[in-house]
């Protein structure tokens, strides 16, 4: 059963990332909906570990790129080097050519470097040396950034934020989870021992199962009402794009699958909405609202149809 497999993934991840079940499930839902994930939080709360664990349990080929301010696009996509034996240039693929790319501290790199990665995210291919190189299938980017650090960073513009299906934050663990973390084993060692939870074609099966989760007309009405309110209602300077609508539905489907249902319910949409819409919405009055509060404002303004 697809949802059992999905839950197995969630449980395996939660064994290492303690006390962060909601964030873990959101991250999984994002991957199952075939979207890229942006994790935004202060250092040390387990952003990178989450990315590592996901790569492991999903059995994906994994590369980490640490973004720095002196980074060049070639450091990401690869470079052509003259091969003396062959007497020609040969393209050496960069770290982006892997199934799961962890782009650590993405906002530290210059926009030029950032856009090299973001282009790959959108096109799922690399154009270099006049040729096009397809990226592996599946292809995910999990990017992290530190919101508190402002000096020497290049914040992602809205158009690039929009390419991430979700933006989540981890937050501090609760006392019980933290105690377990302190008392428990070294996470690095646990990671090293972690075995993939998926068979070869199970991930593809999961993707297909997500696509087949039923969205009733009344549910689509609700999604449309949310989109319409974000565009026309008071309180929002920038509304949700159609792409955001598609993302919301895809994420809600994945969330419903994780919840073991064959159809989407409004609470699925509401559950993923802060992560999906938080980085795409802007408060009209420039109120200093957290993304979650802004999403809450949207949810509570739109009645369920019917």
């Amino acid at each position: 059963m697809p949802h059992q497999i999905a839950n197995r993934l969630a449980e395996a991840t939660c064994r290492i990332i303690l006390g962060k079940e909601h964030a873990v499930r959101l991250a999984l839902a994002c991957v199952l909906a075939r979207g890229h994930l942006l994790i935004e939080d202060i250092p040390g709360v387990g952003k990178t570990t989450l990315a590592h664990v996901l790569a492991r349990v999903l059995g994906l080929q994994f590369q980490r790129i640490q973004f720095t301010s002196d980074m060049l696009p070639a450091d990401i996509v690869g470079v052509s080097i003259f091969d003396q034996r062959e007497g020609a240039f040969r393209f050496h693929p960069g770290p982006v050519f892997s199934q799961l790319v962890l782009a650590d501290e993405i906002n530290r790199a210059t926009p030029k470097a950032q856009s090299a990665l973001l282009e790959a995210m959108e096109e799922r291919q690399i154009s270099a040396e006049g040729r096009t190189w397809p990226l592996p299938e599946p292809f995910f980017v999990i990017a992290t950034q530190n919101p508190a650090e402002q000096i020497g960073t290049f914040p992602l513009p809205e158009s690039q934020l929009d390419r991430f299906l979700m933006r989540i934050s981890m937050g501090y663990p609760d006392p019980v989870a933290e105690r377990a973390l302190l008392a428990g084993e070294d996470r690095r060692e646990m990671l090293a021992r972690l075995q993939p939870e998926l068979q070869a074609d199970e991930l593809a099966g999961l993707f297909a199962a997500v696509r087949q989760v039923h969205a009733a007309p009344r549910l689509l009405d609700y999604v449309q009402a949310l989109l319409a309110h974000s565009r026309q209602g008071p309180g929002f300077a920038i509304g949700l794009s159609p792409r955001a609508g598609l993302a919301m539905l895809a994420a809600a489907r994945a969330w419903a699958l994780l919840a073991g249902r064959d159809h989407v319910q409004p609470e699925d949409v509401q559950a993923v909405l802060p992560a999906v819409a938080g980085h795409r919405l802007r408060a009209a009055d420039d109120a200093p609202l957290l993304p979650d509060q802004l999403a809450r404002r949207l949810i509570e303004a739109v009645p369920l149809p019917g």
Binding site: A216, R218, H263, V264, Q265, E267, P303
Partner: protein
């Protein structure tokens, strides 16, 4: 929703609505104001297209003052139909120029609806009704555009038309049952009837010629049997007896409720549908038999008791060969001989000369006719201007004239020769509409002829025009004129297709008149008594109308709700469930999803947890699940909710 500016498509809809609402009014607006309205609309259109911005309030204020000034200049006051409509037209165009919000847009549309109603103050024809329907549909479309997202105009117009169509049953009920009043319902007495043209009870040479340029319909006649020959188609109007040297006026005319002659000879029964002309005379074919409710003048005019202020239908029988005025009173004959001294001396001299040569009255008549024929007078639509003595100038100098010149000169000559004579005005001829077989008589068929009194024969009709242009009588106006150049377009005979089209349209218009505009209190009563409600007074009709409206609305509502299906039953049950929990102090937030709601209640009221969770889960499964709403599951849920009474 936030009030931001209008989208270009919304502005476009508003401008189109205003243009369609104003277009039919152009005909009666003062030209200066019509031009201003057109300019303002064009200006707003340019702004909507992105050229320039809405004008400053000060500009609008001065433009508004200009409009008020123009209205005052044209009409001297602001009240009444014409000034009111003109004023509103100006305001509508100005309002558009300050409209940049949905609220203002609604005001504009209200004005548009009002202007469309205003059209009917002037005309109630079919074309105007069609235009009003188009205008209403456009205005409804604009309302939709104001509230909705931008859509293709075709789609929007289609939904507006659907909405208008849904109003049809209610419209029919109101049309049939709204208590009818005689005459125009609105309009001040001063201007309610002022746009009526036609004959009048005095005649100065040139009057009838002016009428001949109008193709407006005067009346229609539908003969039940055979049509009278063209030479018998004289529709009698005002009889003019008094002459002051220049104009002819009606003389004394006493009324009786029965004709003073005994009708005899061939009979032609027909139905006359007379357009409103705001006068008392009816235009009957000579000479009408006895008909109840009508008045008969001593000069054989058929009169109505009240001025004809709306279109009326009369059933009449005519006896053209009836001798009339066999025993005319001496006073009447004296009046028919009077001539002002010194006017038209040459014509009077001609009459005196003929009397000296002739044996008797009959001979005088023959000689005058022969004399007229000899003079080779010609018949023309625009005669040269005649001087003070019209008849003299006509007979001896210009020799060109219209029928009233012929009639006037003839009667003066006869009077000078000592034979009682008078001018009769009315209509002659008419055109047969082959589509519905009615004879259509237009203002251009207006005619003037003469009557002379001969002892033993009474009043005899003599048409002096026929003496010089006999084809006028047999073939109508077009045949009498030497070339078609001066004829009104519709009177020309070479445009056969145009005539066919006109006939078709006219037949349609006639039907519209009979069935829609002719639906008067009498017809309403007849229809109601046909439905078994005899002698309905207005209270009964009003009650009936209210009842029928309620029924129509109920049927419409039922139709609108016909799609109430299982989905709606599910919603109803769910809302019952939520209402019960709400009365128990556990209301559901509008945005709260069923499962979350159940979860919240479970923590607040653990005693209800089981039932609430079961119901909420089941509802959500039916509502959002892929299997749809199975009747059995719906029944189970219904049952569970029915027995759910939290407290």
């Amino acid at each position: 929703m936030t009030e931001t500016g209008l989208r270009p498509d919304q502005a476009g809809w508003l401008i189109a609505s205003a243009a369609i609402s104003l277009a039919p009014h152009v005909e009666h607006l003062p030209p200066a104001l019509a031009a201003i309205c057109a300019l303002l609309l064009a200006w707003r259109g340019a702004i909507a297209a992105g050229k320039g911005r809405l004008p400053h309030r000060f500009v609008l204020l001065s433009l508004g003052t200009l409009v008020v000034g123009l209205v005052l200049l044209e009409y001297r006051h602001l009240f009444g139909k014409d000034p009111g409509i003109t004023f509103l037209a100006g305001l509508l165009s100005l309002k558009l120029l300050e409209t940049d919000s949905r609220r203002d847009g609604r005001v504009v549309l209200l004005l548009c609806f009002f202007m469309q109603t205003g059209q009917f103050l002037y005309q109630q024809g079919m074309l105007i009704a069609a235009l009003a329907l188009l205008g209403t549909t456009t205005a409804i479309g604009s309302l939709l555009a104001l509230e909705g997202p931008p859509l293709a105009p075709k789609v929007r117009l289609a939904s507006a038309a659907r909405l208008a169509l849904q109003g049809v049953p209610l419209m029919l009920v109101l049309f049939v049952l709204f208590p009818r009043v005689q005459g125009p319902l609105w309009g001040l007495p001063a201007d309610a009837y002022n746009r009526v043209s036609g004959l009048s009870d005095n005649m100065t040479p040139g009057d009838v010629a002016r009428l001949s340029e109008s193709s407006e319909i005067a009346f229609r006649a539908a003969f039940t049997g055979e049509l009278p020959p063209p030479s018998e188609r004289y529709w009698r109007g005002p009889v003019l007896n008094l002459f002051d040297g220049h104009s002819w006026r009606a003389g004394r005319n006493d009324m009786a409720s029965r004709p003073s002659y005994a009708a005899q000879g061939v009979a032609y029964p027909y139905t006359l549908t007379l357009e409103a002309h705001n006068q008392r005379w009816l235009l009957a074919l000579d000479f009408p038999g006895d008909a109840p409710g009508l008045r008969y003048g001593t000069d054989f005019q058929l009169m109505s008791a009240e001025p004809v202020r709306s279109r009326i239908r009369l059933s009449l029988v005519s006896y053209p060969h009836t001798p009339v005025g066999l025993n005319a009173t001496p006073r009447e004959l004296r009046e028919a001989l009077a001539l002002p001294a010194g006017s038209n001396p040459r014509t009077q001299a001609l009459g005196v000369r003929i009397r000296q040569e002739a044996r008797d009255a009959g001979d005088i008549l023959q000689r005058v006719i022969a004399d007229f024929r000899r003079r080779s007078l010609s018949y023309t639509l625009d005669p040269q201007p005649l001087g003070r003595d019209d008849a003299d100038n006509f007979l001896f100098d210009t020799k060109e004239g219209f029928c009233e010149h012929f009639a006037s000169a003839f009667v003066i000559t006869m009077r000078a020769a000592g034979v009682p004579a008078r001018v009769v005005t009315g209509y002659q001829g008419g055109e047969l509409n082959p589509v519905d077989g009615t004879l259509v008589i237009r203002q251009s068929d207006a005619h003037a002829w003469a009557e002379v009194w001969l002892a033993g024969q009474g009043w005899k009709r003599i048409d002096p025009t026929a003496a010089s242009a006999p084809r006028r009588i047999d073939g109508g106006l077009a045949a009498a004129l030497p070339d078609d150049g001066h004829l009104p377009l519709l009177a020309r005979s070479d445009l056969a297709w145009l005539r066919t089209l006109r006939n078709q349209l006219d037949a349609l218009d006639n039907r519209w008149n009979q069935w829609v505009l002719g639906y008067n209190p009498a017809r309403q009563k007849a229809l109601l008594s046909g439905m078994g409600i005899a002698d309905a007074d207005w209270q009964t009709i009003t009650a009936l109308m209210a009842g029928a409206c309620a029924v129509a609305m109920a049927l419409l509502t039922a139709w609108a709700l016909r799609r109430r299906t299982a989905a709606d039953a599910l919603d109803r049950n769910w809302s019952t469930f939520c209402k019960r929990l709400s009365s128990a102090g556990l209301p559901r937030a509008a945005w709260e999803s069923p499962q979350d709601y159940a979860q919240r209640i479970s923590t607040l009221r653990p005693d209800l947890a089981d039932t609430v969770n079961r119901i909420a889960t089941e509802y959500a499964r039916l509502r959002y699940g892929p299997a749809g709403i199975a009747p059995a599951a719906l029944q189970r849920l219904k049952h569970a909710i029915k027995h759910f009474h939290p407290r």
